[in-house]
Structures are given as C-alpha cells and as structure tokens.
Symmetry: C2
Subunit: 425 residues, 2 copies
C-alpha cells in the first residue's frame, strides 16, 4: 500500500445515528475527512435507521405528487436528510447506510450519536462486527444514573464494545450547528497508552483515569475483562491534534480535554438546572435571579464531578468550557426544559401537563435526570450537599414550591462563606 | 458606656450616594442595622445630592398640584426616593442627609455608591472629615484604566482617604434588588491586620495582598505614605461574618471573598463582552454563538486578572461567583451594552448613533471600557493575548466586522488546545 503523507493507512469514519444532531455531526466530519485526506478516508458512512419518507415541502428536493422513498436513498441521491435536517446540504462524501454492520466495516473511528435508549441494543448488534482497535466518540448527551452508580454513556459504549470511547458535548443546538452558525464544543479524549503486544484491561488501574464511574460499585462490565487494543502500525496517531481535525470547522470551534466525566456530566446535569431557571423565571423574578440559579447550578455540577469522579474530573471543564458554562447558558436561555418549567409556573400546571401540551408526547430530559440524580443522592445520604438539585426534585414532586428556592439553597451559601475554599488560582 | 452583647461600641454606617443602586443598597443596609443592634447603630445616614423634585405620578405619595420639594425632605418624610427609586418603601431608619460631611460623622463603615466620575471630588471633600480608622466598601462598578495602569475604584478611594476599602459587585440590576427579587452578590473584604500602636502603610508588602494594581507602575497614592489604623477597642470586629450581616438579606444572598481585584474586574470587563454578545446576537447567530462569546469573555477576564493582579486574583471569583459568571450572564441577557450592540448590527448603525437614539444622551460603559482596556493592552504589547477584547475595540473603531469574531478569537483556542493547562482541579 502506498504511503500517504507518511501514513500507510488512513482512518475510516462511521457515524452511528442520523437524527438532527447525528446528521449535523456527520456533515462536519465528512467535511473534515475531505479536507484531511492524509489522515482520513474521504467517504464517511452514516448508519440510518431505514424508513419510508415523503420529501417535505420545505425541502428544495420536494416534487408534488411524489411517492414515499427510502430515507437512505433520498440522502444518497439528494444529499439532504429530508426527515431530520431538511434544508441542509450534506457533503456528497457522506454515505447513508441502512445496515449497521456494513456501516462500521473497517471503520477505525466510530462516532455515536443516537438516542440513549438505543445504545444497549445497538452495541449488542455491533459486538464482534467492529475493528477491535477502533476508537469511539460519544455525542450522546446525558449520563446513566441508577440508585447505585453514575455511568457515562461513553463508558457504557466502551465497555460493551471493548474499545475506548471519548465524548463530545457543548453549547450546540443541532439546527444552528447544521446551519453553520458559529458555536464551540468540547471533545474529551484520553485513551490509555496501550502496547499492541500487551493489551491493557479497560478499567484497570493502568488504564485511563477517565475510565471510572461513581465510586463504591464497580460494574461487571468494567471489571477488567476487556482488553484494549493498540492501533496497528501504519495508522495516523489518534491524538488530540488529529481528533481535533476530525471535528473542528470554521463555524464549529473545538477545544480538546482529557476530562470525559466532566464533558458528559455537563450535558446531563444542566437540564436539571434549566428547570430551576425556568421556575424562577416563571415567577417573574428577573435576570438576577436566573443568573443566580445558573451560578449555583454550575457549582453543584462541579461538586458532583468532584465527589463522584474524583480521579478524573476537572473543575475547569464545567466553569470554563463549552460543555459546561456555555451549554448551561444556552439551555437556560431557550431550551425546552427551561421553557416548560417556566410555563408550568406561569400557568400553575404540573410539568406533566406542560409536557403534554407543549411536547407532543415527548418527555423532558431534565425531569427524568432530576429524579434519577435524586434517587442516587438519597441512597448515598447526600441530598443536602446538592440543595438545588434536591430542590428541583422536590418541586417536581410537589413537596416544595419554586418560591422556596432561595431558602432551600441558602445552607450551601452559608457553608461556603464560613469556610472559604480557595485552593485554586 | 454600657456594653451591648459584649461590645462597648457599635458601628455607625454611612452610604455615600443615593441613585437607584445607592438607594437599594442603603435600604438593605438599614434593614440589617435594625436587625443586628449589637453590631450596628440603627440609623444609617445616606448622603443625597440635594435637588428640588416633584413627586412623580407613579409614587403613592403623589398629590396633584404639589410644588417642588427638597429630595432629602421627601425621603425623610415619605421614606421613598421619589426621583431614583420611586415606588420602593425605604426603612424609616435610613436618613437622607444633604451634607456629605455630616453624613459621615462618626461613621466607622462607609459605603460608596455613586457615579465613578464623582469619586475624586467626593473623596477630596471627605478627606480629614472621616474617622481615621473607618473601613470602606465600594459598590461602584468598573475600574479606572489608563495607558499605564489598571486601578480599582476601591483602591482609589482607600488611598485618597487613607482607609481600607473593599468592594461589592454581583448580578444586581438595581431595580430588581430594590423590589426584593432574589439575587446574589459578592463582597470582597480583606483588610490587612493592623496593630493600633503600629499602623501599617497601605500598599506596603505587609499590607493586604489585595492592595495591588496592574504591575509595572506604582502610583504615588499607593506609595506607602498612608498609615492604616486599627479599629479602636470596643468595636465589634469587621470580619467576614459581620460584614456579611451588613449586606445579606433573604432576597440578597451574599458570598464573601478576599479577592477585591476579581470582584472589581468582573463588573468592568463584562461590559466589553456584552457588546460582543450583542454583535453576535444582532447577526442572528443564535444562542450557541452568544454562549460561546460569553465563555471566551469569562476566559479573558480570568486571563486579565491573572496577568495584572497576580498576587491577589482568584480564577474562581470570575468562574464561580455572582460578580463573575452570573453578572456576565445578566449583562449579556438584557443589559444596555448588549442591547445597543445588537441594535447597531441589526440596523447597520454605529454604536454612537444607537446611543443617541436609545440612551437619551447617556453613554455606554462598555464602549469606554473597551477603548481604555485596548489603550492599556496596546501599550503593553498584549492585544493579541486578549483577542475578544481586541475584536470588540476594532469593531467599535470600524476596523473589523462582527462577522469576523470567530476568526479573530480562534488563535486563543488553538493555543489552548496545543498546550492544555489543567493545573487546577
């Protein structure tokens, strides 16, 4: 095989998922593989859950009287995901593929961007079908919280497939990114060093410090039975510089970090805070109060990361990166958790009623995260250490009122004042 | 003198300034002196620049056909600042005083809350008229930036009067605070330890580490000629606990810090960032882009504090406190710098034209701060280290366009990515 710019091989990229965020990320990635031919194979496979679609009127490919077509055929012919990202031109080197197995064939980089409820089943189908040395990046927002542990989706994917998986998250409303309106994102990528002759067990102490979850329990999947394989010789390194080349665009600025836990937690916990911001805004308390809720929310995100991911979490991920403070700002500006919570206070309705009225059967992510986080904190006896998260839960449950938020979070303030911690500079 | 709760004396408080923010803070302070009779004398003097006023119709004290009255008389009779804070009940123990000299008589705590252009003249009038051991708190937003140095208003006041002066700043729109809508604030207070027998020169190495300014130049006022006096025996200590009791209310949550520089810089530099956020929003780039500008702005605030106040500045003041991230959020939500910058892009007008149209002759603070900060950075050869601040300046000057902001700030991102600094946890 001829070497290309010093590399015998190039990375093949597959995107698993094709909703609006999946398609927007696939568009970015395909633009970048084309621009970096020494690193990446040009064609990017995107797994599309096949369905019959009608081309909608807002698409320039709409023709009156046309019949339903396969979504993959439409994407590959018109280079437009007419169902989930109508009106956006996709690169011609982005190939829609209805076969999950075929879409990942020979791919050394797997980008996961599908609804979290499909992760388990999809990984099951993928097991044994992917390159054993592939690397993953999860763009799925949220974390998997149970009574006993907090697990990152990147970690679930990694352990199910026996590969390393990083994470991407930021202040990234999908349709704005797809329209090439400028935004920033954060990519966390920190695979352990592995020697091709001595694979490293995932989750072992010698593996990456990011490969951890909420302390106390170690799930069987993370018990070291999986061996992480090194990239074979000939591939360009998958370091921060090259990962950035896969995601960075003039309109999509990437900052790299090693903090997978922080990046994942930011995208999950902000939804709880957005509910609190909506409650306060619904009371008509103004911009000061809303900013205060967001500030306290960021503090509790930081406390959560420190407490439950002490070996890998970095405060600055939350306070200084797009996946933290910026995503919080965006979500508390017009996100649907914020909007629905605000409406619930203004109209005196329960969140469930507002969901029904506003979301056409869909559910808010913030409410389920608030309940899950509370279950976890309660089991650990730590509700009082996260007064804002606890307040949101209690408001959702009808135990407390939005008006009580300032009083409910005051203890935290007092503690902070009495014992000012200023170890950081 | 009888001791009260262990203290022979109580602190007398004076508020210098009576605009809407001055009156709102005076209201808070008077509520707290009444509630803490062992620490504070009940009556709070508020210096009011005397003027003849008509009681406006929105006041409940309005009577048809009434004639102009002295503002101090109106405040002391009706307990309402009808000119600057109409409709808000002031505590009856808040006394309006038209005499600057008389208002500060015997006051051991001086709260400065007046437009910054009046600081110098007011301090001149106060010199020699105040208790030599008084302590100050400046609620004046902004910093005094010249080609050669960045000086905090608290520091100017302190050095002019020969006293220690802290600072208060936060996400505090005055009218919302006055209406008792919940908000948070940050109070920075860090006086050096002084022995009554051996006064400490202000600005000497033994004085507080907050008593510093932009490195390189030491102004004559800070050269150590002023001796800081200890509180005489019998007064309650002016520590964080007691300072908090002066400002904290159920609707106004106080967090104390020692970082006077950080608290002061937050309130000044956010106005520059708010212009950038307005430019981007005016382009219709959406919430992602606006959040990105705010994130980068916070980063530049941090970089500014670290660079020019290295001995006292704390990153967390900007990233975790009301005076930092929360004030940034509020200012970029609906503050007038943000609004005018947005309108200027939407209508294709210069900022000066928008100021004329929208502000009835008033000037934006962000534009003058942007120019001052640029003059200072340019003189130091550091424009490129603060690409967002520099971009705002160049957009205001017509050298660059708002559309160029992503490209202009990109270098910073690249540098950060290549050399990830994660010293903090």
């Amino acid at each position: 095989m001829a070497t290309l710019g010093g590399h015998a091989r190039r990375h093949k990229v597959a995107v698993i998922g094709s909703g609006n965020w999946g398609s927007a990320i696939a568009k970015i990635v395909a633009e970048n593989t084309r621009q970096n031919p020494k690193l990446f194979e040009q064609d990017v496979q995107m797994w599309v859950f096949e369905e019959q679609v009608m081309i909608p009127k807002e698409s320039k490919n709409y023709r009156p009287g046309s019949t339903p077509q396969k979504l993959t055929d439409v994407i590959n012919k018109h280079h437009e995901n007419v169902k989930y990202l109508a009106g956006i031109d996709l690169p011609t080197n982005l190939i829609a593929n209805p076969s999950l197995e075929d879409s990942v064939r020979d791919a050394s980089i797997l980008i996961f961007n599908l609804p979290h409820q499909f992760i388990a089943k999809t990984c099951e189908q993928l097991r044994g079908k992917i390159l054993p040395f592939a690397r993953g990046v999860s763009c799925i927002k949220g974390v998997d919280v149970t009574r006993d542990e907090v697990k990152l989706f990147s970690e679930s994917i990694g352990s199910k497939l026996g590969i390393y998986c990083g994470a991407l998250s930021g202040a990234n409303i999908a349709n704005e990114v797809a329209a090439e309106k400028w935004s920033e994102t954060t990519v966390a990528y920190d695979p352990p060093q592995v020697d091709s002759r001595h694979p490293t067990p995932l989750g072992s102490p010698s593996a990456s410090s990011t490969n951890l979850a909420a302390k106390g329990k170690t799930s069987p999947e993370r018990a070291g039975s999986i061996k992480l394989q090194a990239l074979p010789e000939g591939y360009p390194a998958l370091n921060h510089e090259n990962m950035k080349k896969l995601f960075h665009r003039p309109y999509f600025h990437v900052r790299m970090t090693t903090d997978v836990a922080g990046v994942s937690l930011g995208g999950a916990l902000k939804n709880v805070v957005a509910l609190a911001a909506g409650f306060v805004d619904g009371l008509g308390w103004g911009d000061n109060a809303k900013a205060a809720v967001m500030r306290v929310g960021i503090q509790e995100q930081v406390a959560f990361g420190r407490r439950f991911f002490p070996d890998s979490f970095q405060t600055a991920t939350m306070t200084e990166e797009s996946c933290g403070v910026a995503d919080m700002i965006t979500s508390c500006s017009g996100g649907r958790n914020f909007r629905c919570a605000k409406i619930s206070v203004q109209k005196g309705l329960s969140i469930e009623q507002v969901e029904k009225e506003q979301l056409n059967g869909q559910k808010l992510q913030g409410t389920s995260t608030a309940v899950e986080v509370n279950t976890f904190l309660k089991a650990k006896g730590m509700e009082q250490d996260f007064p804002l998260f606890t307040a949101v839960y209690n408001i959702l449950e009808g135990n407390k009122k939005p008006e009580e938020i300032p009083d409910l979070i005051l203890n935290e303030e007092d503690d902070d004042t009495k014992n000012i911690k200023r170890a950081r500079m």
